[in-house]
Symmetry: C3
């Protein structure tokens, strides 16, 4: 009889995995009130939240876990958060004084947008790390950098031709929000109030501009920067999802930042695609080889990694995504040491431009990490590789990476010298360096092709080194650029 | 002892999931006869069918389900179909008089091709809806439209150069079947009979042309249009597979219709890729948030959606895939209101061309749905979004969508005006508007780049709005077009 | 009580699936010694190996399986391998006399690189088949072929422009290893010794060049060719992974060899993406329809396939991947019958070039299989198709394939004739046929676009036939080539 009961419990345990509310959870009264209406109006939000760890565990329980397994980095928590699960009200009511999007709603004071400052109540270490990095400043790094602003306006602004003359227009805000700022982050502001009709009556709610958006450098109505939900998608806020490569692949895609594509074709990506169903993507700390057979983006760039012995840390968790890499490959004219801080618009190169290198490649070293810090980071990254690879593999890989970066930069420099020659010969106008035919070839050379080669070398996606926006394109585009300049000289039709 | 038995039953129940025939199923005598030979000759077909719902459930059982869960839309069924599972003979013997591909085979009268008219015996609502839409007419919408016929012949026809003169050839039928008609549908006709050798003796069977094909507008030997199996792949006919984005991705792919690619990089696509293993893809009706965390193509474009309460319908099922969208983004020069009916070759624009807009963008309004119908459809789609999103997100998204479409169209118009200028200046010959260098740049502008931007705006795939065939390409291609025309003027080498 | 025990065993059995070492396995003393240190230094390798079949089964047990299910093809095995699982020492200590990378390490003689010759101890049939094919010779087929060597050097070598003159440089070894040789295979040699520091003291280990690498034609330090681990990724060596399309997709990717991309968009690829979770990817022999619903690359190109009756073989296993196809589509100017053997650099065409066809298409028939062998292979492949498809589908498909290949070749020939005309007119210099603008257009015509069309026809990826590097590109590129040549004539600016 007892074993019969055991069977019932076994089945019950199995069923509970897919029925998150079958165990009794402690909802706050406020959250209970939210759910009562909102699960009727847009039930998907509630159902999604019910799958989350936040809907099943109270912060108090989370605080009681061993330090290495803890997901909460706060050492103390507000008393009212300890014994209820983290529901609607717990997130949408923090820091109300700062929130310009706060409004009275059915007797509650609600913020529309939940920001990193709100998540910080339980996750201060992560929020602070994130705030230091380039992601948090991704919007300002475009808008406050005069060079990139010209690039942005040239690419996504309407243009017209009157006879031979080009007429450029400034991009509209909605277009910027659908293109560059979709990933870099919008400025979310409150325009006023608008009326919403619902089965429960009409409501006045804040009317937002720049919304919806999940850009990494979003300016929030509480003055904070960023969006935790870009990776920990609302309302499940899953660590597993944040660790999966598809999440990074929302923004880091070819042709401009082909890391997701390079990963997919790499041996690591192949192992992931072929065997990830068996991984434990939720485990904290995360153990290479045991919890996952192949690294994902998160394994190398931010997760807390531990050896199978449980005690030895291989890499500390970080939410400053620029803090592990030593070299910056990302979308710029030349590779260079990582910037010292997240705001790249403060960098000035030797020619006074807000770029981390000169047009001819010299780094703006005062703003970039030094050789010693680079060495320290390289050693840290090699330690991660070393979880699964001997030193012959690791050193051999780094030699290939360094070589790819060096030759990609060299192939860019040759195109830059050709373009500078054309500028000198008045075959193109340097005022806007991005808007003429030969300038666009030059932009493709670094923004797409050199970038592909660099990332291919870094992450073993060798078709992206050879044919797929790599060497084939670096070579033929340089050839095309040279021929276009030659033709311009021959025809002199400007 | 009883719990021991329970354990045995538990195990048996688990095993049965992977052994579809372990339960007793009622095969018709005819189907039993088919299987006896065919599982020896091409066993994969039989094994695939055994995984299907059709192989496990009789239509009579299906009719007894609650109305909202029913997969059969017929109100009455032929008596002989009620109590046997749907096997070989049940599908391959319908409507014999109409089937020019019907033949005597081992004592049975068999149709080679199963058509929407045959599926209609049990699924009349779906077959009728499908027959009204553009998919059912996808073949005629190419072949009976003189403008598109020129485009088709220009792209997939052999061409040659004798000195400076281009010589174009008409595409071969097999090439058309491997390219445009692969998705749009072939004309399946019976050429005669051919002999087949088998372990059971020689047989004479119909010799088909245009076969195999699963194009959505296939002309079948019974005179019907379409192929249910393009989405409900034979012989499993799975609703789960039809709901997965890969199925739509067989045809709706970049560069011409990049909806699958845009979806994959969107937040929705990321959630799907990262978490779909936990979805219930078979459930009817389908409940957002509960059965799936992220929508797939089917969620928004055709599935029956219901609220978690089980009673409230969010969207009715439709198999007319043009009936939910209000605007048509799909592969044409300019966006425009959805056509009133599936046959688009009957449309005439103000210049008398069979196009839904003029070259300069004016819609052929008499053939397109009006503003009121557009409004109604927009409201319906927003209701689907509303399952998981509040009105701030929904309205903000639609504003971005509208803006993307508007600016994509404007960037096309500027390229059209440049081309029209070139035609006027005799720099190109308008007779075939698709076959010269500058005309091909213009075609790319709308068929690839504007299309990418439109779909990116519609489905949040913002790298396709910015760099991946989006704004970058719209801008540089317009620049290249202007420069090519300028060079043609300068060189006057035609 | 007994059923309670049964429950415990059931649970234990379930748990054991994820805890490979919970059953007692017989490690050799040597392997036990390796693991003791190495699971501390790079635990991921050990954890990965523990998931493998090799870590759980002794070769002796493997030999006792029925012949058709056996994974070991040796008829006798060294006695010391029979009763221990295949661990570190079993693989890293074979054939020491041949291994220039053998070294003394902590009292053992260890080879760094495990080669096909080492795997051959248990898998001689597979190693021998592999050694015959083009994969094993993939490196020499580039380096020992003067035509391809020029192509390689042109694509991945740095180039510069001094005024109008192009200066080409030879590619560096590291660049070659990151591009062409990443897939084709490096030459792994021992440069000397290097010192490694570890928690267990310092060691001297061989210092390798050309490492790491998993190219299919790798030259190993024991003189053998190839890398079994490119598909059976170390250290899990999984047959399931080797059978998954992502594995082939490490190298066979667009734009040059778009088979993975074509597969993904095909009906077969769609079925795989939509339903592969339910497949038995480990089963030997592998039964179409039962173990898998859609073929993967391996199903058609190398796996042992059997009918569901268990006895009838549909296709014998082969590791000579060129032995099933009758026609070679792969990356070359024109399609042609498969070469008679794996070394393609011995082929001479009628003009004395090391190419399987002349520039004008005539095959170098003496080096290629004859019509009879082609017919035999076609019949073998059709038998595989026949597992799931009747002859109408199979024959119709092959007619489309043949037509696609024929027309792709014809579109290449037209571009070749244009280029030959330009060479004759001194508009380009034939010495290096790959390095000028119009030559690069010609190279794209066959290496990317004709290749896409051929593979699209072969594997039903029809968007790759129409728009995605297929007909659209074949047509517009031919047009561009003709216009570029015309412009060169007009400007005469060379």
């Amino acid at each position: 009889m007892r074993s019969g009961l055991a069977l019932v419990f076994l089945l019950a345990a199995v069923l509970c995995l897919s029925a998150p509310l079958c165990a009794e959870v402690s909802l706050s009264q406020e959250t209970q009130a939210c759910i009562e209406c909102h699960q009727q109006i847009h039930p998907g939000i509630v159902a999604d939240w019910q799958t989350s760890r936040m809907a099943k565990t109270t912060p108090g329980e989370g605080m009681n876990r061993p330090a290495s397994e803890r997901r909460i980095s706060a050492t103390t928590l507000p008393k009212e958060l300890l014994d209820v699960v983290v529901g609607c009200n717990e997130c949408h009511s923090q820091n109300q004084a700062q929130h310009k999007d706060n409004f009275e709603h059915a007797g509650f004071q609600i913020n529309v947008v939940v920001s990193p400052s709100d998540c910080k109540v339980c996750h201060p270490v992560e929020a602070d790390q994130y705030g230091l990095g380039k992601k948090a400043h991704a919007r300002g790094n475009l808008t406050d950098n005069p060079v990139y602003s010209v690039l942005v306006n040239t690419i996504v602004g309407m243009r017209d031709y009157e006879g031979v003359k080009k007429v450029a227009e400034k991009p509209t805000p909605l277009t910027l929000n659908c293109t560059c700022f979709a990933c870099h982050g919008t400025d979310v502001t409150v325009k006023g109030l608008r009326k919403v009709e619902s089965p429960f009556g009409d409501f006045e709610v804040p009317d937002l501009s720049g919304w919806p958006n999940q850009g990494v450098g979003r300016l929030n109505p509480d003055g904070s920067r960023g969006a935790c939900t870009v990776c920990h998608t609302r309302h499940a806020f899953s660590i597993a999802m944040a660790r999966k490569p598809h999440t990074c692949g929302q923004c880091h895609l070819e042709p401009d930042v082909p890391t997701f594509n390079v990963y997919q074709e790499s041996k690591h990506g192949n192992i992931f695609s072929s065997s990830h169903q068996g991984y434990d993507m939720e485990k904290v700390p995360w153990t290479p080889g045991k919890d996952f057979r192949s690294p994902t983006c998160a394994s190398c760039h931010n997760s807390l990694l531990a050896a199978p012995d449980g005690g030895t840390t291989i890499a500390e968790r970080t939410h400053d995504f620029g803090s592990r890499p030593w070299v910056r490959l990302f979308g710029l004219i030349y590779s260079h040491p990582q910037p010292k801080e997240g705001r790249t618009y403060i960098i000035k190169n030797k020619d006074g431009l807000t770029l981390p290198t000169a047009f001819t490649g010299e780094p703006a070293s005062a703003f970039l990490i030094d050789a010693k810090e680079q060495e320290k980071r390289t050693t840290g990254m090699k330690r991660i590789c070393g979880s699964c690879h001997g030193s012959a593999v690791v050193n051999g890989h780094f030699a290939k990476l360094d070589n790819s970066v060096k030759e990609a930069d060299a192939m860019v420099k040759r195109s830059t010298l050709l373009l500078m020659g054309a500028w000198n010969d008045k075959l193109a106008d340097k005022t806007n360096p991005f808007d003429e035919g030969i300038e666009q070839k030059w932009t493709s050379q670094w923004l797409f092709y050199a970038n592909s080669l660099r990332f291919a070398g870094a992450m073993m996606g060798y078709d992206h080194a050879a044919f797929h926006y790599g060497w084939w394109n670096l070579s033929t585009n340089l050839q095309d650029l040279a021929e276009a300049i030659r033709l311009k000289k021959a025809v002199k039709h400007r």
